[in-house]
Symmetry: D2
Subunit: 338 residues, 4 copies
């Protein structure tokens, strides 16, 4: 951490800051310039409250030099984390394809789609039971019943299931769920993150609509600090000034996060674009850029889906997609085993 | 709602769409042009799922014409909503000044600040008990104990209290709280919003970091649809490309929201800027633009505050501020009664 | 175009609007609802000034239904435009790799790099002569002399050259230049665009830092309206709230623009990321998503480059990249002929 | 400037960097930590090319500590700059109201509006002759003839005139113009800025749509580095994810820029919002926050204006506005002398 002092700072205050820092086990190196003085802080600065220092009268600015996350940091954990889900592995050179409908609508629907996507090469089933909808008047999901139906589809197809939690109180219903999804709007629901940290179940952590890489990794850190290290990051598009697409897929997040962290990262091309015609090109881009997997909305009857219709693709389109993914995976040396 | 069909749409599908719309009680008016056909939908389109229509093969685009919110819409509720809190009123031509520390730290601290801000002209006390912090290693608030201490300050000063809830499970602790705050990161925590809709307590609903006006009002609509109409909107800065300030205060939100909705709107100049030197100019701007109030972080000892130090101002600065606000309030015909 | 009228509009004003529209050759279809009246405008609305209509007292909102560009619109020009540059072709199923240094620094430097990138598979040479720099104190390019040196490199290697123009007055120097580049900061320098419309030389039009797809295509339309149809679009990253990367590559721009327009689109992975380590993954993503080409900064000695060092890659890295691109191009059925 | 080195950097390269820095007259102070080494650079770092240092293999990151602008920096020029225009002064505690139509349309129109806004209290006349329009099919302004007509209005009313330049080649026409406006889209037209630096005429420099404070001041620095110090900054709204308003007025820019720089700053409430109903509240906000002036679009017949109609107000509305501004100016201790 680097602390830049204002011109002619009060000497007593500077000394008091130095003592406080040293009491926290931090070494301070001072660089005196004509217009300002720079303090170089060396040691374990992760627990220093940067805002406290910024608030001092003598301080002009504080710049972090070290990342504020530790468990999620590749520097302290150079090997890729591989998250085991049922018989599949996410990360570590594997390509994982997760597919399924936006919402679970009925037993027939979810079982039929589960069979179809399994046959096409999906290795995990997604499906919304609790649905975060912008409008209180839109369909809110089948909730507990939706999770029960996902369980039936899992039993029939053997596909592990991933579904979204929206509140701590729903967690008891997730016993049979293989991967708990945290949606973009809950990425900084810190109470929920802490609760997930106590569980022994993989978490698929979506990036918030306007979350920086660092904030995203800090949310992973919340879960990891609690003891749960099985986290799959998921980029799903960020909010920008462009409104033609629902969100803007930040494809650079893949190599950047792989560099900053050891956690696997997958892409949601369906929500990124909000348009079914863009699912394939964005999937190609993501896998080519090194993504560990994709989570794709597939519906047997998109125009009648109860939500998110415009971005779902049909099973037959998904099948064509998996074939293309297999080829690109090969190019970038990923293992894609149905 | 306006539905734009693709060129040469399948006639059977168009008819099927028309029938479906008519079955929902919607009148459809068709405009046929050389390059496209436009359907004008007239009736109560609020309950139509726009995504379902967008998903149809024959549809190129759908444009809303009517706002998707009803309870929060000024068109259906022309009079200003006035929210009563203790002896004060928020909205309806009043200027409300809410002040207090970022976090409750001790009984002495909160009581002392409460007395100071009351003396300077605050009519409500703020103070964080549950603190949403980006890092799991930062101070997380005094939680239940913090709410208890706020209660003591309320008893001593008579000031109603406003404090933030972070999870449904915390709500039972809020019995003695006068206004429940929903933070920016929870603006789309829909389960929490539904729960607040069932309560009989005013809610201070902060705008999400990257929430549009419409999404913000839809979150208000979630609460109102449950029966709780006492909502105070709070603009606290949005996320933009500019990083010099913590957020960018969207001052236009004041007149825009006043036009779209009948709900009162206040401004948080402390979080908008993240710099104490900007609190006064932004407060002046907000009141001049017609804000119904301000919520300001005031600390008796900013450099030692346990969080958000850089943006807190001292009680004596707050006192000068209230005097300036009184003059500007007068100019824009607001009533500011300490 | 759809015009939404306010509730209870003045009848005389509505009629006057209708007459005006009809005088412009527009057919108007009216849909009367309880809360609003919608006018469906059919005909050639491209020349209607949307702002004039919005300004009327009786109008609540105006929604475009048709794109405001015609020459650049795929609807009116279904075949891909193929831009011929020397012996190469940009678009139409070809993959074009343009490479070279950020700035031309000396004859030795540009000739050496030109030879190296040609040997590795580049089919065009880039190099900055006029350099748009944020700071007046940074190196501003070799200017006319830089263009002369590019000409020497072209003569020796046979590679066509692309370089940026910053002002109309520089155009006479571009006679020997094969593709004139318009930088992101000049995308809406309308006077320059008009001038380029009169030329008979391909233009590489970079997307502005915060330009929407529509604005970008409108800038292409400016050039095309003047008679020059040889435009290559170039996505180079947009400005978002994320500051870890220099810009955010909007990879979805590739399939979206291919759908909206017939113009070829290439990607600049160097400026998108601003980090050399990200050039390869972003190049892979771009080609996999269907880009017609890449424009990459390659430097023989990055740490001593006079500008944009952090994002340049070395010739040997570029060579590895071209091999990977050839494989991905094959997967997505592009022809990459060195 | 602070340079953060990678873990275990090559010693020879570190030494070579140190020598190079010292050869530039920079003092280097080294802080060695367990995980990284920090170099504190002291001296005149404005001319150091930050990108060159970032590009080195041994460097992890570089953080600026000092602002990269000097002439525009309040640290080196503590007194407010006051720009003299005709008999009025911009900055230094004065409130300047500039008003006029979006476009000059005819002699009658510009003279009539000029008289009206003068009578209401404007001290300068604005009017577009060269118009930057997104569409090549929209009205492009009266150009040279527009400037001539502005001159007539100036002669009749005595109001100094401000109008926009779009290209260097137009500058000879600006002899009789009092303030040359650089539009948002040209804020980084560096060749134009350099040309303006050589002139002896005040420049009104609008902030780019997505320009940071620093980039904006760097553009001012371009002009000032050429010798022209009479710059008036103008905030006109930035581009964000919110599309309800045309742009988002960043009202915090006023106190921030006043702190970073000594240049006067005015606000354009018309373009910020793009809606005439928002002009008054945003004007109030701007003056209350300390703006040195306003530039407002006023039209005698908004619905027939040839461009930007929705945001223009009528002269009688402008008159009411000036009265309100006079009161707020008084509150914040600005001198508003018609």
């Amino acid at each position: 951490m680097v602390v830049i002092l204002k011109r002619d700072p009060d000497k007593a205050q500077v000394e008091s800051l130095m003592h406080w820092l040293e009491s926290k086990g931090i070494d301070v190196h001072t660089t005196v310039g004509k217009n300002q003085t720079i303090l170089g802080l060396v040691g374990d600065t992760i627990h220093l409250d940067i805002d406290l220092i910024k608030a001092l009268d003598i301080v002009e600015a504080v710049r972090r030099v070290q990342e504020p996350y530790k468990n999620a940091n590749r520097k302290f954990h150079p090997q890729d984390t591989v998250v085991k889900v049922g018989n599949t592995q996410v990360g570590g050179g594997n390509l994982t394809l997760i597919a399924g409908p936006c919402s679970v609508e009925s037993e027939e629907q979810i079982v039929e789609i589960a069979k179809a996507v399994k046959a096409s090469g999906a290795t995990m089933l997604r499906g919304g039971a609790f649905k975060p909808r912008t409008s209180p008047y839109s369909f809110q999901g089948m909730r507990a019943e939706g999770i029960r139906l996902l369980g039936i589809a899992k039993e029939i197809t053997g596909l592990p299931i991933v579904t979204e939690v929206m509140d701590i109180s729903q967690l008891p219903l997730f016993e049979n769920v293989d991967v708990i999804q945290v949606g973009a709007r809950n990425m900084q629901n810190f109470e929920l993150l802490k609760e997930l940290g106590k569980m022994k179940k993989p978490v698929l952590l979506k990036r918030g609509l306007s979350a920086t890489y660092e904030e995203w990794l800090m949310s992973a850190e919340y879960i990891m600090a609690g003891g749960n290290e099985d986290i799959i990051l998921c980029e799903r598009g960020i909010r920008t000034f462009e409104t033609y697409t629902r969100n803007t897929l930040d494809v650079a997040a893949i190599p950047v996060l792989k560099n900053l962290s050891h956690l696997p990262i997958i892409i949601d091309p369906s929500h990124s674009a909000g348009r079914s015609a863009l699912v394939e090109p964005l999937s190609c881009a993501a896998v080519a850029a090194g993504a560990d997997g994709l989570i794709i909305e597939v519906h047997n009857d998109p125009p009648h889906a109860l939500c998110d219709g415009p971005q779902s693709i049909r099973p037959e389109v998904f099948e064509g997609l998996t074939k293309k993914m297999a080829i690109i995976a090969d190019t970038v040396k990923k293992v894609y085993a149905k």
